[in-house]
């Protein structure tokens, strides 16, 4: 795992000292709110409906047991005993007091954590595949490149005051688990010359009020040119990006206005100019230095099957149910990837208590080479568990109420905080998620429905990724009353698509019934082995419109 060097330590420490001074001056009346607000936003501190909210970065979603335990400590000591894991692989605390924030940041800094690049119009915390480094079939570990991008972008003077925030995601696998095409820049590692990694670079994706899928703007960019190419993209964006209108300032609007081809041409032209190119060329030693941080742990040589594990599967039905949904194939024989669902039936998506975070830290230390991942679908992952340990890991997770067997099923939803917490919300999201989860609680029914991604946002900002949900739910406000608009057919994977609006919005009382009708329509129309999205893509929106609105 990445460890801070001197430079990282220094900038994080300096930032804590600086912000501590700013908070003091604010509380002493030396800074006005207008002066202070941009400063707190640079440190991940928002003001929400009931309190301040602090967003802490978990770069590319990877953390150690010690770091997870620190997140638990912050929840316990300064907040209300829990935290909320987000789609950007970060964690949010909903109740910090302004006067405590400097202490929180100082505590986090002791384990190399911070809130830098979690808000403001900068290049945000780079996100990645939660199976990075362990998935079978991966071309290269995306965290190496995410870390290189992090070092390049942190406090980069030119990229600290962009027209708007800028989000980058990287994956090393052809199965996209990082929603890269829905980011300002999405990077897929491909095979380059001489077996070296190269990059297909997509730009102009995003959600919010104008959702767009990113376009390919650079093909097979060699590894050493990555930063130079990124710099060319940023220059074209910084040159033309609209600063006059907040809603038009994202790179997606520019790519759309110029056309993807013209945008790509300008980037190539900028790239050819050289610019800072030579300085940004990655020297071999540097790539190898970063790569070493992500070297595989000391795996044992094991047979791929384990008799005790097979026996437990045969004898313990609950364990077998969990194994069926929550495990993924590991690249090393005898190991598995364990997914921890943060979506208990009827619970709050992405929330974990301090005790649960401690439990995950303990289990990771004992059974997963001290590593935990946060997924963009608001779950956690233990990347390296021996098959022979799975039964014990499951028992411990179960004891911490962390063994819900529903990864990828309908109750495994992405849900934004919505009107229960968020100052920008139009409607509640969490309660709708809870009702849907309860309506489909029967596990056999969930398995029969199969893979189905429901995503819920409380307003058009789309933090809950509703545009790319197989079923997306968007909260809208009609004269102070909550309504819910439904989209169908969205997807955030390698075949990314923005969903289609199915028709007029539903009331809070109607929405769960409407979701049930949609699921029934799918079940009635599906062919052998088809998941919801495939059926939708085959039959289109009309059969759903009919069943939803015909009766009305």
């Amino acid at each position: 795992m990445y460890r801070y060097d001197e430079f990282d330590h220094t900038i994080v420490k300096e930032r804590v000292t600086e912000f501590t001074g700013q908070v003091k001056r604010r509380l002493a009346g030396e800074l006005t709110e207008d002066e202070f607000k941009p400063l707190r936003l640079m440190n991940g501190l928002y003001l929400q409906l009931h309190a301040y909210m602090l967003r802490v970065a978990i770069p590319y979603g990877t953390l150690s047991g010690t770091q997870m335990r620190m997140l638990a400590h912050v929840a316990r000591k300064y907040d209300k005993g829990y935290g909320h894991f987000t789609t950007r692989q970060n964690i949010q605390y909903n109740w910090p007091k302004l006067k405590d924030v400097p202490d929180i940041l100082a505590d986090l800094a002791t384990v190399e954590m911070h809130a830098i690049q979690t808000s403001g119009n900068c290049i945000r915390n780079v996100t990645s595949d939660q199976y990075a480094g362990v998935a079978a079939g991966e071309i290269d570990d995306p965290r190496i490149w995410a870390e290189i991008l992090r070092q390049w972008s942190t406090f980069h003077p030119e990229y600290t005051f962009l027209p708007r925030k800028f989000k980058i995601a990287v994956t090393g696998h052809s199965n996209d688990r990082a929603a890269i095409k829905m980011h300002d820049v999405g990077i897929i590692i491909v095979e380059g010359e001489n077996g070296e990694p190269a990059f297909d670079i997509y730009a102009g994706g995003g959600q919010g009020r104008t959702p767009m899928v990113a376009h390919l703007v650079g093909e097979k960019i060699p590894a050493r040119d990555l930063l130079h190419f990124m710099d060319a993209i940023m220059r074209v964006y910084n040159m033309h990006g609209r600063r006059d209108n907040l809603y038009k300032a994202r790179i997606k609007i520019l790519v759309h206005a110029l056309g993807a081809e013209e945008f790509a041409r300008q980037v190539k032209e900028e790239f050819a100019k050289g610019g800072a190119g030579e300085d940004l060329k990655l020297p071999d030693g540097e790539i190898e230095r970063i790569r070493a941080y992500f070297a595989p742990p000391a795996y044992e040589t094991l047979p791929d099957t384990d008799a005790a594990y097979e026996k437990a599967l045969a004898e313990d039905k609950a364990f077998a149910q969990w194994a069926r949904t929550n495990l993924a194939d590991h690249k090393v024989p005898g190991y598995a990837i364990v997914n921890i669902s943060l979506k208990p039936i009827g619970g709050i998506a992405g929330d974990a208590s301090d005790a649960q975070m401690d439990a995950v830290a303990d289990i990771a230390e004992a059974f997963s080479f001290d590593e935990v991942r946060v997924t963009h679908e608001q779950n956690l992952t233990l990347p390296d568990v021996k098959k022979s340990d799975l039964y014990e890991v499951w028992k411990r997770l179960d004891a911490a109420l962390l063994a819900t067997p529903n990864i990828g099923l309908i109750s495994d939803m992405i849900v934004c905080p919505g009107l229960d917490y968020c100052d920008l919300a139009n409607a509640r999201s969490i309660s709708i998620g809870q009702m849907i989860s309860e309506r489909f609680a029967d596990l056999d029914k969930e398995h029969d429905i199969g893979e189905l991604k429901v995503k819920i946002s409380g307003c058009i900002n789309a933090c809950g990724h509703h545009h790319v949900g197989h079923i997306g739910i968007l909260g809208v406000d009609k004269k102070g009353v909550e309504f819910y608009q439904v989209t169908l057919g969205g997807s955030a994977d390698e075949n990314a698509a923005v969903g289609d609006i199915v028709g007029p919005a539903f009331t809070e009382e109607q929405i769960v019934g409407a979701i049930e009708t949609i699921v029934e329509t799918y079940v009635a129309n599906r062919q052998d082995g088809e998941i919801f999205l495939e059926t939708y893509r085959r039959i289109g929106i009309d059969p759903f419109k009919e069943t939803l609105y015909a009766a009305a």
């Binding site: 009931h50 302004l98 920008l424 509640r428």
Partner: protein
């Protein structure tokens, strides 16, 4: 952001967040701030609303609160009752965690 005020609405109260801890507070009749919505003073019409906003603007300058705004209320007896779901939730706490926020204490 959700609209806090409907043009046709007549009665308003004023809310803000306390600087120190972000707690939602309401402007009261004696120019103080209360954590309880029903303590809020009610403005009848635009002009009275603007007067409340002036008081709040001073409180922002005095480092007491941030983010002040007026919101629509109904008058229930002599107490304000928020019209939007948003202000109802803000005045009580998350509907999904009844152990948290104002409703908990």
């Amino acid at each position: 952001m959700a609209q806090h005020i409907n043009k046709k609405a007549r009665f308003h109260s004023l809310t803000a967040n306390r600087l120190l801890d972000g707690e939602p507070v309401y402007l009261t009749g004696d120019n103080g701030w209360s954590e309880v919505l029903t303590d809020a003073v009610i403005a009848d019409g635009k002009d009275e609303g603007a007067k409340l906003m002036d008081i709040a603007t001073q409180a922002v300058k005095d480092q007491h609160v941030v983010n002040p705004y007026l919101f629509d209320v109904d008058v229930d007896g002599d107490k304000p009752k928020p019209i939007s779901v948003r202000e109802q939730i803000r005045a009580t706490g998350p509907t999904v965690r009844l152990d948290l926020g104002k409703q908990a204490s």
